[in-house]
Structures are given as C-alpha cells and as structure tokens.
Symmetry: C2
Subunit: 179 residues, 2 copies
C-alpha cells in the first residue's frame, strides 16, 4: 500500500494505533487504519462412487499439479456457496455438499482452507477454464507426488482414512503440521 | 476506496476485468485489481464443568449484549490461534481447544465464523478490555434474549443439544437460517 485508499496521501506508516496491540497500516494524513485479514480458500472434495474428482491446474501457482477444487471465497458468498462455485468453475461439476471435512490454516501466508465433502451429481464433470484436466481417481490412483498444495494432501489422506474407518468427522489442520 | 493504494490515482471503477466474471475495484490508471474477500471471525466456546463462558460486550456493535468470545482473525494466525487469542483478550481466560464446533456464514456481510469448543483451563478468567462482564452460565442461565449475534445463539443451541445427545460434531450454519 503506497497511497491511502481513503484520502490519497502517500503517508501510510506501519504503527500500532491507540487501543490496539498490533502494527497496522495507518494513514498519517487522515488517520484511517487499513486492516488486513486472512483469506478463506473454500473447496469441495467431489465424490462419485469410490472415486474423488481432482483438477490439474492450468494457472500458476503450481500449474500442472493436481488439486482439490478450491479457491478464494468471494464477498457475499457463504463458505459452501463459494466451495460449490469452485467445483463448477474448475471442473464444470455440480455437488451436493454433505459436510465440513477440514479447516486447515496456513498462518504464514494468512490463509484458512475450508474443505467440504460433496457428492458429484450424476458423476458429471468437464474441464473448467482454470484446469488442464479433471479426473476421477480411486485411492490407489491418487498422484500423491504431483499434488499442488498441502491442503489437498491433508484433505485426501484424511478422507480415505475416515472412509476405511467408517466415520465422518471434521479435521483441524495446520501447515507446517507440527505447528 | 477513493484512491488507488498502488498509484494514488482517483480513477477507481467497478468493472469486470478480462478473464474474470465479477465486478472488481480496478484502477483505470495503473490497472491494478483490488480484490475484497470475506473475513473470518474466530472464537471459542470455553467450557468449565457444565457451564460455558460468555462475555458482555463493552464495544459496539451490540454493546451490553452477550457473546461467545470471538473476533476477526489476524494475518499470520491460524484459526485456532486467533480463536484462543480472543478468549484471552475478551475474558483473560486460557483454553485448550478440543475441536471445531461450527462454521457459520453470514454472506450478506461477508463473514464466516469459525467457532471451536475448548476447555477453560482451571476455570480461570477475568474481564478483558472489550468486555463489561464475563460469566460462566449453565444452560438454564443463558440470557437467550440478550445475545449479541446469531452466531453465538447458533453455537450455544447446538452445543447443548450435542451434549444432551452425547455427541460431538461440526455444524454448518448460515444466516438467515433458511438460506
């Protein structure tokens, strides 16, 4: 932030405002405090029979690697609306969300993933504009070494473990894991 | 946003950028797209014996009404770190988080609440700067008609129902509820 979005002055400084305990971007001209907060990445693991749908990313970061369909939640969306929208945008698939599977924080980059499980309706999907390829994988077929993000690996490993154990639960995760 | 935080020009317009499908704030001078995303409100329902800890808000909005200790997640925090921090700031209590209780979206105002359950360590608490009063309530004592936010009511009702049923689960909610 070079200029104050409120008054246009180039007097943004990182200071701790009165009644606060953190460094904030504060305009020294109009005194507006410009807060910055973590982003939510919403997604669904679409399930069809014993397979799950993954997308190969057509865009950076991690172009060419596989991912659980996910993306930044937009303003005026619920978490599940955003998650279902991402499945449509990335894989042209529609899902019926069945529950929350994971809340996975990456504090270093101020992201919180919210991953749902959902049934891929009629098993139908295509290839969205942000994807090079979309494909249903059985557990044995998952390309573990070609996953884009640790959030997807986290979600997939726990999904298959839960399925074996016959349970559904919501997992709390962090990167790095020992955090 | 009156001025571009990047170049300082007063030429911010709401347009749909190329390769996008939503209106964004775009600087017509430097072409920077300024994204806006929902905020995460993280909190914990602190539990001690058969009681839960609530805080009476000392600040607007909803000053004087009761709330599950919660607040905006900060950059570089995990969801559970932010949630535990809020219990400390609002009630001077320390919690051991035991699980995710609710993910509750209020799409209209672009907020997603993430509420955890946690054990209030040693039953100790005080009154944080943002609170007028902090108090342990049994189910019968909850001031239902004096709750600040629907997210707290959602979390409390489901907590007591789960406790009666002897289950722990993660609840997905929206305001308004019929959404």
């Amino acid at each position: 932030m070079n200029f104050c979005p409120n008054c246009g002055a180039d007097r943004i400084e990182k200071i701790i405002p009165p009644d606060d305990n953190r460094l904030r971007l504060v305009c020294q001209n109009c005194q507006t405090v410009h807060y910055r907060n973590p982003k939510i990445v919403a997604g669904v693991l679409p399930i069809y029979g014993d397979k799950v749908l993954l997308c190969k990313r057509a865009i950076e970061p991690c172009k060419g690697l596989w991912n659980v369909p996910s993306g930044y939640l937009e303003n005026k969306e619920s978490a599940e609306e955003g998650a279902a929208r991402e499945v449509w945008e990335e894989a042209l698939g529609k899902v019926e969300i069945t529950g929350i599977h994971a809340v996975y924080s990456i504090a270093r980059i101020s992201q919180v993933y919210v991953h749902f499980l959902g049934n891929l309706i009629d098993g139908k999907f295509g290839i969205g504009e942000e994807s090079l390829e979309c494909k249903l994988f059985s557990e044995e077929e998952i390309p573990w070494s070609e996953m884009a993000f640790t959030s997807s690996t986290f979600t997939l490993r726990r999904y298959f473990a839960d399925r074996k154990a016959g349970v559904t639960q919501t997992h709390l995760g962090n990167y790095p894991e020992e955090k």
